[in-house]
Amino acid sequence: MSAAPEQRRYKLTDQVDFLIVGCGASGSVLARELSRNGFSVVALEQGPWLDRSQFTHDEYRVQAQHLLTNNPQKQPMTFRKTPKDKAVKQPALIYGRMVGGGTVHFTANYWRFHEIDFIEASKKGTIPGTGFADWPITYADMEPYYTKAEWDLGVSGQAGASPFDPPRSKPYPLPPMPVKSSGVLFEQGARKLGYHPFPAPMAILSQSYQGRLACAHCGFCMGFGCEMGAKSSPLPTMVPQAVATGRCEIRPHSYVRKIELDAHGRAIGAVYFDQNGKENLQHAKAFIVSSNGSETPRLLLLSKSNRFPDGLANSSGIVGKYLMFNTDPLCGGTFEHELNEYKSIQVTRILHDFYEIDPKHGFYGGGGLDARFLWTPISFGSIGMSPRAPQWGSDYKKAMAKNFNRTMFIACHTTSLPVADNSISLDDTVKDAWGLPAMRVTYKDHPDDLKTGQFLLDRGMEIMQAAGAQDRWAFPIEETTFGFHLLGTCRMGNDPKSSVINSDHRTHDVPNLFLCDGSSFVTSGRGQPTETIQTLAFRASDRITALAKKGEI
């Protein structure tokens, strides 16, 4: 399964400059940047190192065999809505478990945060019962790195197309992807209602770029790896570039269970299981955990010691807390003519008119809407049609035949408020295949998040009508019990009592331990976190490099 290419190899006893735990959206960026900056790097990745020739469009196998994601059989989880409830064994979240991480199978929506996302609490006031706070960094701090992410990875879009866009120092490197029928209809409907739809910025190549091929419009982006290498995940970009420095080793099938400290409270090594279940200890001078918003806090909580009885770098007691999932309300519609939405990328038009919902509605929130098709044939047959459509028999068959190519959806992407009870913790009653305590997920949407979702869903239904849908339906807003955006669990801040890392991504408690991934988020953004996760990693690389060069790690 693994196709680890020729690369620099380090010994377990080599004290490399940086050990990175997790080689996904952010870890792979850090690996490339730090190795390019002259440092020796080992990146330990839980999952396999797949080559794009190993990807498949077989939607059954990808899902049933968890080819790209965490496997609930080997890595069981438990879920509860509140700390008062008993947690029940069930899959509660999904993440990319492979070199490249979730960005291998993501839809490739690539939205910057706006200025307001970093300073919203001071602009709008605190919200009782939440940890709503400003970030210790601003959009201006991030802008050069957003640009770097877009140019280094390859993003297609149209700068200035949205009146709500934040300022940018450079346009997108590539023109927008060709519009699909869903995008045309969405644009027509939205314009009738006075909104400002615009071409979706996507981390997919509309033209060949830096030796990579342009998208072939096969349609298998969301949930699948890209055989063309046209999706701008780390696999065709950061990963080979890191390896090419000759200073970076990426070690797949390496599942870290603990970070060890010395007597002075400095991290000295990472204990991990290799592919054969054998335990190893890799030494390093400094450590960066980039294992996503669920596994990063879990690793800290697993790394208990006398010095840190509640988990590594957890003097604040908030490691794992303030988990934010975003919500994703959805409505569907059918149209007179064929859309053939199974062709090409999922999303070509979005709008940000409701990025900040007017507080006069009585709740906090905001988000974006996009036009998309998100089914492949099996999932379409399961849940792709209106709940009023026949569900089996000859009429069901006829409805599928008529609607598969005449259906589109509008997906909403919302804020989630940081609530302390929403969290990742350890469940000692359930063990994973390596004998470690399972992840316990506690999650209940803040009431404002559900109101935000309903508000956006109502707008989506209006756009669907204005676009001329013959039939339309909305999936009811329900409390979230399954997450795929994993944010906020080791939040960034200036105060060691209320945050886990500082604005350099260094933990407040351990000088040579850094965290950088979705867990670093203070607030949730508007439902498309990937560009900000990767931009944080580009920025963190510079900060950490500067610290290392000054001898301050």
Binding site: R52, S53, Q54, F55, T56, H57, D58, E59, Y60, R61, A64, Q65, Q73, P178, V179, K180, S181, G183, V184, L185, S208, L213, A216, H217, C218, G219, E227, F335, H337, E338, L339, N340, E341, Y342, K343, S344, P377, I378, F380, G381, S382, Q391, W392, G393, S394, Y396, K397, M400, A401, F404, N405
Partner: protein, 194 residues
């Protein structure tokens, strides 16, 4: 394990140099893809590994009610039951027990609908429909239906969705490479722009 996509990409890979010269046309890609698909798993006449003959008969009857053979081929022609047998044996053996239980539940309902019937497959078509309506909201029914869809719409490389019967029904072309316009509305928009 034959992997159509892998073989296709091996072919496409040899053309990478050509691609940069613009020579990789949709026709070339489509040909390569068709070639890669020629080696489908053939499940016809294979002995069942998971189903007992009785279970196979009951599930066949169920599958034919979910996606009947009418003016167009249905679950039967797509080899759904043979594919589900393969899937439960090879891909998801952990689901065997739940699946067998779901079939038992279907048969229990069959006996409620027609007390004299030995099993679901022994019911008349109208009785089968009646029994299915009685349980169509249950998880067991959902599981049985989901596997019909897997067998009907899954990747033909594994032997289900035989001759792409499922894909042909809904108009899913398995071409790998498409160029705009993709549908009616974007075609109209292109015309207006021109």
């Amino acid at each position: 394990m034959d992997n159509a996509r892998r073989r296709f990409l091996a072919l496409a890979g040899t053309s990478l140099g050509v691609l940069y010269l613009g020579g990789l046309t949709p026709e070339v890609l489509a040909q390569a893809h068709e070639h890669a698909k020629s080696a489908q798993r053939n499940l016809d006449g294979q002995p069942f590994r998971f189903f007992t003959p009785q279970q196979a008969a009951d599930y066949e009857a169920f599958a034919e009610q979910i996606i009947p053979t009418d003016e167009t081929p249905g679950a039967k022609e797509a080899n759904v039951v043979r594919f589900v047998d393969f899937a439960l044996s090879e891909i998801e053996p952990q689901n065997k027990q739940d699946f067998a239980k779901a079939l038992d539940a279907l048969n229990a309902q069959a006996k409620k609908t027609a007390p004299q019937a030995a099993a679901f497959s022994a019911l008349s078509s109208a009785q089968q429909v009646e029994a299915m309506k009685a349980v169509e909201k249950t998880e067991d029914f959902g599981m049985l239906k989901y596997y019909v869809l897997i067998g009907f719409f899954g990747d033909p490389a594994d032997g289900g969705n035989k001759d792409q019967i499922g894909w042909k029904l809904i108009g899913f072309e398995d071409r790998f490479y498409y160029a705009p316009p993709f549908g009616y509305y974007d075609a109209q928009a292109m015309k207006e722009k021109a």
